[in-house]
């Protein structure tokens, strides 16, 4: 284990009704978070390799936790997103090191395919800071029904020398999408966009 994990948190948000209308089947979004020690807290380091490796490890671990919590097969995942909150003794660049270089490949393996970019958000924060994890369809970024976000927050993290890393996977889009745009059945899934 490259990352020093203090806590792992998994949440599932299942919506059975929205706007007074039944949602059938219910929409479900799963959020998995890891609270980890930031190996570069309190010091400037040109090289951020340890965080890049941690990102690779957490992409698989958190992606698999989401899929497991939804009780689905990887190919039944619809959308995904990722985010990180860096404690005050770290830098925004530390979140970037976790999220961007290596986290994507193992996450895509956990949800199968994943031609589209993984939408992301990052910020510095403190205990209980909330971050809205942006979501997009995993195979075609332009699918309008799947633009969404899920709020991620850990009441006792991140401490100054910690980072909260969050991954969201869904098995659905928004509850009652009806604003047109590219539909799931129109996905070609080759360029990650349409």
């Amino acid at each position: 284990m490259k990352s020093q994990i203090r806590k792992i948190i998994v949440q599932v948000d299942e919506v059975l009704q929205e706007g007074g209308q039944a949602v059938s089947p219910p929409t479900r979004r799963a959020l998995a978070m890891a609270v980890i020690a930031n190996p570069y807290a309190g010091k400037y380091s040109e090289n951020l390799d340890q965080l890049i490796d941690i990102g690779e490890e957490l992409g698989g671990l958190l992606g698999e936790r989401c899929v497991k919590a939804l009780g689905i097969q990887p190919e039944d995942a619809h959308s995904y997103g990722k985010a990180a909150i860096v404690g005050e003794a770290g830098e925004l660049e530390h979140a970037a090191a976790i999220l961007h270089p290596k986290l994507g490949a193992p996450l895509r393996k956990a949800v199968s395919k994943g031609a589209a970019l993984v939408p992301s958000a990052k910020k510095q924060g403190t205990l209980g800071t909330a971050i809205d994890v942006p979501l997009g369809h995993k195979d075609a970024a332009f699918v309008r029904s799947h633009f969404d976000a899920m709020e991620a927050r850990v009441n006792d993290a991140p401490r100054a020398n910690e980072i909260v890393v969050a991954v969201v996977v869904t098995d659905s889009g928004r509850p009652h999408p009806r604003i047109g745009g590219l539909q799931v059945y129109e996905i070609t899934g080759t360029d990650g966009l349409r």
Partner: protein, 216 residues
């Protein structure tokens, strides 16, 4: 006519605590909470008789208790701590949250293998006093509030068989982003698999429970 129990959302939360800046636990402490967001049929006006909903909540409670245990990835035998709570939307009153006391407690006792007299419990006369009659003997600690969407509730937890077990006094923060709406209620169950991860303030230990009266 809309059903008395009308659930809009179910939110589950589980966490594995490996350490809190002390020695890493050989087995992580698992804590979890489940929250059901439902319509408050009594919102917007004073209703003298709200008891029909209390009975109607029983099946939902049992279902939530089972779902929570599954989400925590453990068997009911592994559950050592529990708690419950409710958040009432702005058009309701605190008393509506109190409807959860009996069904919430009953739900977890049903799951955790309580061997007491269910009819007596529902009549407010539960409890047995000699030998270990079963599990889930303690009163289920609770809290409730009226709050806006996203309100956080600190749900207290204690040992399932003896309220005075000091290592198991705990609380878990529960909030559902976007809920409750003003005409909704959130009912919450919480469970844990053990003591606080670095419990070390002495007091009654779980292995020293002897009176089996739900307290010591």
């Amino acid at each position: 006519m809309t059903a008395l129990i009308d659930v809009r959302r179910v939110f589950t939360h589980m966490e594995e605590i490996h350490h809190e800046f002390g020695p890493v636990a050989p087995t992580p402490l698992v804590r979890g909470a489940i929250a059901a967001v439902l319509r408050n049929p009594y919102a917007g006006a004073y209703h003298a008789d709200i008891l029909p909903m209390m009975d109607a909540l029983n099946p939902l409670g049992v279902d939530l208790a089972k779902q929570l245990c599954e989400a925590m990835g453990v068997l009911p035998e592994a559950i050592q701590g529990y708690g419950k709570g409710a958040i009432v939307g702005a058009a309701g009153e605190l008393e509506h949250g109190a409807l959860w006391h009996v069904p919430g407690g009953y739900a977890m006792r049903e799951l955790l293998g309580w061997k007491g007299d269910r009819a007596a419990y529902l009549a407010g006369k539960g409890g047995v006093s000699t030998g270990q009659p079963g599990n889930a003997l303690s009163i289920v600690p609770s809290t409730k509030k009226v709050g806006p969407p996203g309100a956080a509730l600190d749900v207290p937890m204690t040992h399932i068989n003896a309220s005075y077990v000091r290592s198991h006094f705990d609380a878990i923060e529960v909030r559902v982003p976007g809920a409750p709406h003003s005409d909704e209620l959130i009912v919450i169950l919480a469970m844990s698999t053990g003591a606080r991860v670095h419990a070390r303030v002495e007091g009654l230990a779980a292995q020293d429970i002897s009176q089996w009266n739900g307290l010591r």
